[in-house]
Symmetry: C2
Subunit: 348 residues, 2 copies
């Protein structure tokens, strides 16, 4: 209901004022494409912007054969590399690394153990070389064993102070303005927007409302189990457990969407092979569907990486040539950050 | 966004018309208690109705020290025995039993195996005596192995035709009118309403929008895993697997709420020991909280069961004396169907 009250509803009320006293216009304004194209002001004219406009028009115009009932308007967004910067390392991974000193001061026996020893050394090159299983060990150790409230408080504190090394700005400032505009535009047209992240949903939920206008229950992500128990004073608590309930990557994305949203999205946005199945699943439904992939091809304003179009490969957000080919074959739209986005960040 | 468009938003727009041209009134109407008490028309005056009114007033009046921001207004409802009739058997269990003939015609080797043999015999007494593990076997066999789309289509077909044996009406007509009114009243006051059911979320999601005005993504329940794969024609599908991801009963309710909603509810409604932890967890938060339990004490108009107040015990919805005592101790409100509800069903 939050979105209704702070987002579209207020918007609808304001449109209402403009429309008064035209009652019929008033009653249709919330289900018809009402946001002017100028809402996508950070987008250059081109096929990507046009695909978004065409999709919204055809699914919200009652006269369109592709009209979609408001209750079926679901749009899902990957986060890292799709909504904000993921390079050179996912921000949640940065959080986990930053937590290691606290963890090892609580459990000093870990100081001499790998991979904690390497993290404590501060040797960036060695840290960058840690294996996936080492990183998983760090993730599980730093994200479990506390109550959900303690966890939320830690994330909130970290996200308010941590800075990205290139822009010297907080991570929450490094969201892509064009994507914020797409989410607002979809919401203004009756779409319910969800984040579907490969990283932890509990992490993203702490700031999703403030940064993206998306309430916690509309954030789907990898999830560790919790265990209901009682604190010493008898107060009920939920403890975060080292047990993975949902790995929200690859095939886990459509599975997570079914688990948490229960409906097939009408639109899905991603940027890497981990989003492939989400886009396939979205595209397999009938009627109008919108599938988009963000290509990081702007080394100047952001980064250029991923084997698609011969860009260098990195550890994060792999946009392979195979994914690029599948996008072309399935008529998914590839968004070129370089060509399609007038500006990338709000602070520019 | 559906609720925004078909529920509160339309309501807000209509209130808007009434308020024009008083702009300040217009802009506050969506966050202040706006629904008149007459919306709870099926409730008798008494402590239960008063508890609901007091809670809504104190959490939606900006001048109240207990005011709750719209984005934090979360209310959760158990389904069976709280929103609709659960006696003599949960409707989803009825569905599973009804599916056995189809299952055994597809897999004839099961016809001679228990518990399928007993179900096929049609001997109601023997069926009523099946053990919990027999029932679980029936549940898993009848709810898995198909695509999510096939499953939805089957449920939709069944729910449209199946009848309750006492009222000879479809199950969806057997929702409690007073509880429908509470959900509408909460939504009209900015609360996002969720179902938190011990039975399968995929089952409830098929009809939740139509029957309760609650979209599928606001239904939390016990969940079987799905597996992403491809049909013979290459189309991506999700297959329902015999693997329990979430047992949304008892401690599983707050755990499920954390997994799917990510916030502690402000209000929670239940009717049995399976809802105890959900109410405890809700009550453990600060500020105003509303915890309510429906007591089935009306043998004439519905049923009277559960050991609380010396009613007969049954297999479903056990409201134990211990739960009753805990409710009194924790100041949870017990709703007497007999005394608090003027009418129980819409068709009365």
């Amino acid at each position: 209901m939050r979105a209704a009250l702070t987002g579209i509803n207020r918007r609808a009320l304001l449109s209402t004022l403009a429309a008064i006293p035209a009652l019929p216009a008033l009653l249709t304004t919330v289900t018809r494409a009402q946001a002017p194209a100028s809402e996508l002001e950070s987008w250059n004219e081109g096929p990507a912007k046009q695909a978004i406009l065409d999709f919204v028009h055809s699914t919200t115009d009652r006269a369109s054969p592709k009209f979609v009932q408001p209750e079926d308007r679901i749009a899902t967004f990957d986060q890292d590399g799709t909504l904000w910067v993921e390079h050179p390392m996912y921000s949640q991974m940065m959080y986990c690394l930053d937590r290691v000193p606290t963890l090892t001061s609580e459990k000093p026996e870990l100081k001499q153990e790998e991979p904690f020893k390497t993290v404590l050394s501060g040797d960036r090159e060695a840290i960058a070389k840690l294996s996936t299983s080492d990183l998983e060990k760090i993730i599980v150790s730093t994200l479990t064993g506390m109550t959900t409230e303690e966890f939320d408080a830690e994330i909130k504190k970290w996200i308010a102070t941590a800075k990205d090394s290139r822009w010297k700005r907080s991570y929450t400032e490094l969201t892509y303005k064009p994507m914020q505009e797409v989410m607002s535009y979809l919401r203004a047209n009756g779409y319910k927007t969800f984040i579907v992240t490969g990283f932890g949903q509990d992490f993203v939920r702490v700031y999703s409302q403030q940064i993206y206008g998306i309430p916690p229950d509309q954030v789907v992500g990898s999830a560790l189990a919790t265990k209901y128990s009682y604190a010493k004073d008898g107060k009920p608590i939920l403890i975060k457990e080292p047990k993975l309930m949902l790995n929200d990557n690859d095939a886990g994305k459509p599975e997570g969407i079914h688990l948490m949203i229960g409906r097939r999205p009408r639109a899905a946005f991603g940027n890497s092979t981990g989003d492939r199945q989400m886009l396939e699943y979205t595209g397999a439904g009938d009627g109008a569907r919108l599938m988009m992939l963000v290509l990081h091809d702007d080394a100047q304003r952001e980064y250029a990486y991923g084997p698609a179009q011969g860009l260098p490969d990195t550890k994060v957000g792999t946009f392979t040539q195979a994914l690029y080919d599948q996008a072309k074959k399935n008529a998914w739209t590839v968004i070129s950050m370089k060509d399609d986005w007038k500006r990338i960040f709000s602070f520019e």
